[in-house]
């Protein structure tokens, strides 16, 4: 038991820790130039200084706000559209091919248009993140609903479930695993889109911190930003994974009680 928890909890951390230690050592022993690869301790110092100045909290929280807002708006819209496409044939016929076509446009290609229409303020950045979150949520919701076991739907029909019951008892929970996969995927594209949005035009946020640092060849801050992004990405992934465990409890119920 203790051995397995060790394996489960600490093994994934082993390699990063070793890498960081080696990195520190390499810089301190001057194996590599610290000009482009500052020691981890230096990055931590930069973080502390920026924190004291209030820059770090401000930029992280602003980035988080943009990301969350974009995710809620884009993800929500994707979910609703996916739901409509999945449940209504008329809607699917009318909109699906259009949405699929829009999906193939690379996000970066939309930057000039978004800037032109919404300017460079918060709405533009949020819109950009929202666009990136919309499609994965749409695809997964739509796919989740259309791939529900038809036998279960027939069962619902023969047991005379009404529309609400059909949706609440069969369609939604049946599509939920795929939808949550979409959430996880959208969280990934959310950060990517945010970095792009904040690099293009911003005066705050982690992306801005990073591009600003690039202009002053402030390598430590660049590394700090990369680490923050990695941390935020991992955090959202962790939350998404746990949401899956919580909402899909039934999938984990092992066959431990088998007997006849």
């Amino acid at each position: 038991m203790t051995k397995s928890t060790f394996k489960k909890k600490f093994l994934p951390w082993l390699l990063p820790i070793v890498i960081i230690l080696f990195w520190q050592l390499a810089v301190q022993l001057k194996w590599i130039q610290s000009e482009f690869l500052p020691a981890p301790t230096e990055v931590v110092q930069t973080a502390i200084v920026d924190w004291k100045k209030g820059i770090l909290q401000k930029n992280i929280s602003i980035s988080l706000f943009r990301a969350t807002c974009g995710f809620v708006i884009g993800g929500g819209m994707g979910f609703i559209l996916g739901l409509l496409s999945g449940t209504s044939k008329l809607f699917r016929k009318t909109f699906d091919s259009t949405i699929q076509m829009l999906r193939t446009i690379p996000n970066m290609a939309l930057i000039p248009l978004v800037v032109l229409i919404l300017g460079i303020g918060e709405p533009a950045k949020i819109c950009f993140v929202a666009l990136a979150c919309l499609f994965p949520m749409y695809i997964n919701t739509y796919h989740g609903i259309t791939s529900i076991d038809p036998d279960l739907l027939e069962m619902g029909k023969s047991y005379q479930l009404n529309t609400v019951q059909m949706f609440k008892q069969i369609i939604f929970p049946g599509a939920l695993p795929t939808i949550l996969m979409g959430v996880r995927y959208a969280l990934g594209t959310m950060w990517t889109a945010l970095i792009v949005a904040e690099t293009v035009s911003a005066d705050s946020g982690i992306g801005y911190m990073s591009t600003n640092a690039q202009q002053y060849v402030d390598v430590k801050t660049i590394y700090l930003c990369i680490i923050i992004y990695a941390f935020l990405g991992e955090l959202s992934n962790y939350i998404a994974k746990n949401l899956e465990t919580i909402f899909l409890e039934w999938r984990n119920s092992a066959r431990s009680l088998t007997e006849e």
Binding site: Q57, K58, I60, S61, I62, S63, L64, F65, R66, A67, T68, C69, G121, E122, S204, L235, I239, N242, L243, T245, I246, E249
Partner: protein, 328 residues
């Protein structure tokens, strides 16, 4: 045990999400979106054409600075000081810049108005004018002449103070009460011999063949500007008033040091020749400061004079309508 760990996971993730949303909300407050549109308080400032507030409004610094403090400034143009004091009393504006007589009249009529700030001295630009061709060179020569003035304005106070100083009574001259525009027309057509006016009319007349027979300095009359507010608003917005005075005085300093810009601006706004504006602003100093005792005494003198002349029904105590603020 399994059930327990499941419950713990739920609670942990819930708190993680709450923390996430809190941080995101904190971020929202840091953005322009969170700062501006949400809780900007609108304040309305009344002004008259070509006055100090018009300069501030055109410069834009005041609006910007107050926006940063959470206020959205709206400027409202009025055609007379009386209209402004009325709007103040009814609460449709929060502050007003007027001359020195409208608040006296309004307070005497029972309006609950408070003096917030005092403007600079304009004694050089307010006075009595006669045509050079008239041959009048001394105030005493005005005996029996027709003098155009506007009732219950600075011109009335000035003419009364002037006559008193030179030992004349109102019956020794013929006072003709005319609206400011009508007075100018009557004077230029020769229907009256003299006119009591203030800048830029004074400057304009001087530049077109009139002599300034006497000005504010002769009767110790400074004809200041004032910033007024309704008494209740003033009581509840002391810090805002302080900010307003501070920023206005910054604008006034700017005005004093940017005459050429100012000349262009005011000549456009007032539709008056640049040379006229130049004379006007060269002989006055722009300023705003918290209300001073001197200024209150001046206003009280106006009130007393008007009361004696029967222009107002009551002699108000000006000093009880003042908010003394300290601005650093």
């Amino acid at each position: 045990m399994h059930q327990n760990s499941h419950q713990n996971r739920k609670i942990f993730i819930f708190f993680l999400l709450v923390a996430w949303i809190c941080v995101a909300f904190y971020g929202f407050k840091q953005t322009d979106l969170g700062n501006s549109s949400e809780k900007l308080t609108t304040i309305k400032i009344g002004y008259l054409s070509g006055d100090e507030i018009e300069i501030s409004a055109a410069r834009g610094a005041l609006k910007k600075k107050l926006r940063a403090k959470g206020y959205n400034v709206v400027f409202k143009k009025f055609t007379s000081g009386a209209a402004e004091t009325e709007a103040l009393a009814s609460g449709s504006i929060d502050y007003a810049r007027t001359g020195d007589t409208p608040p006296v009249a309004a307070i005497a009529a029972g309006s609950k108005i408070t003096y917030i700030a005092t403007g600079g001295v304009k004694s050089n630009g307010t006075g009595i004018l006669v045509k050079k061709s008239s041959g009048i060179t001394k105030v005493s020569q005005l005996r029996g002449k027709k003098i155009a003035y506007t009732k219950s304005t600075a011109s009335e106070y000035f003419v009364r103070a002037l006559l008193k100083k030179y030992g004349l009574s109102t019956s020794d001259v013929k006072l003709v009460n005319l609206e400011t525009n009508a007075a100018s027309v009557a004077y230029s057509k020769g229907k009256v011999d003299a006119i009591v006016a203030w800048d830029p009319t004074t400057a304009q007349l001087q530049l077109s063949g009139s002599t300034l027979l006497a000005d504010g300095n002769d009767v110790n009359y400074n004809n200041r500007s004032y910033i007024l507010s309704s008494s209740t608003f003033a009581k509840n917005h002391k810090s805002l008033s302080k900010l307003l005075i501070k920023y206005l005085s910054q604008d006034m300093k700017w005005a004093n040091s940017h005459h050429s810009t100012l000349i262009k601006l005011l000549s456009e706004k007032l539709g008056v020749k640049k040379s006229v504006i130049k004379t006007t602003i060269n002989r006055r100093k722009y300023d705003f400061e918290p209300v001073t005792q001197t200024a209150i005494k001046e206003s009280q003198a106006i009130a007393d004079t008007f009361y004696k002349a029967g222009v107002i029904k009551k002699d108000p105590k000006i000093k009880s309508h003042v908010q003394y603020l300290s601005v650093n």
